[in-house]
């Protein structure tokens, strides 16, 4: 009988241990194209969100790739954040000047008429989730209580 009770107790104990949420980061990318003849000034605003409530994400670096439907990479952006507190949102802005030739594939993928952007002088949009792929993310997580004890002293 005892051999059945011990595993049963272990299951009960495992069930009541606190669920530990691993620090995780969610992304969204907004892009603004500004016609700045003969190049396009493209501003990428990358929003990072630490989805964990118990962990601080530290020394975060990642490569954000903008990809086509068939996963061909159109653009790569490197983002870095010193620290992200739980549920904290941080925005990183990257501005690049790009030639019409270089920006064309992205416009094609987004089904934006390049002539329309030239006419309107500006176009802003949030990239669809499927077009944003996070590669090579490196970060460490620290328990929030340990972190607050360290900085609070």
């Amino acid at each position: 009988m005892i051999k059945y009770i011990i595993p049963l107790l272990l299951v009960v104990c495992a069930g009541c241990t606190q669920y530990v949420d691993v620090g995780d980061v969610e992304f969204s990318v907004q892009v603004v194209f500004q016609q700045n003849v003969p190049v396009f000034a493209t501003t990428y605003t990358i929003t990072l969100l630490n989805t964990s409530i118990n962990k601080v994400v530290k020394n975060y670096t990642a490569t954000v790739a903008i990809v086509t439907e068939d996963k061909h990479t159109l653009k790569q952006l490197t983002v870095a954040a010193d620290k992200l507190l739980p549920k904290q949102v941080q925005q990183i802005t990257i501005t690049q000047n790009e030639s019409e030739e270089a920006i064309k594939p992205l416009f094609n993928e987004l089904e934006i008429d390049i002539n329309e952007v030239i006419k309107q002088q500006e176009a802003a949009l949030v990239l669809p989730e499927g077009m944003v792929k996070v590669e090579k993310a490196h970060y460490e997580t620290v328990d929030i209580v340990a972190y607050l004890q360290e900085v609070g002293q």
Partner: protein, 143 residues
Amino acid sequence: MKFDDSKIYFYFSIAVLVAGFLFGLPGIYSKMVTEPAIEKLLAQNTDSQKLKQAYIMLRNPHIFAGYDRYDEAGAGIEYILKEFDNRVAQQKEFTSNDAMYLELLLLRRQQGSDLSIKTMIYFILLSLLGVTALAIEKHVNKK
């Protein structure tokens, strides 16, 4: 043919009693040690450092009142945590006005302790039920 269920009742009683104590211990510890310490710090609500210490203690959640699980009543907790985490990280001061929000976090912890102790009582009652069944079984077997 008569089956002797005494062993089943005996092990059942022991198992639920042990489980009951496992569930109850975090609540009892919190009620006897952690919560009085936090209340003492909150009583000195003009001292920013004491309030900060109270917050750091409250930031370590009760096992029965984790911050990653919210019901409707606790939905605002997330915003309190975000604000105060930022404040500690940026080494800003806590004021006596913040004590009210810290008391909300303490209330959540106290509710977790209550849940823990009530769960323990429930399991102890189950254990007593097992003991009663064991006594009846033994009595019937003697006859």
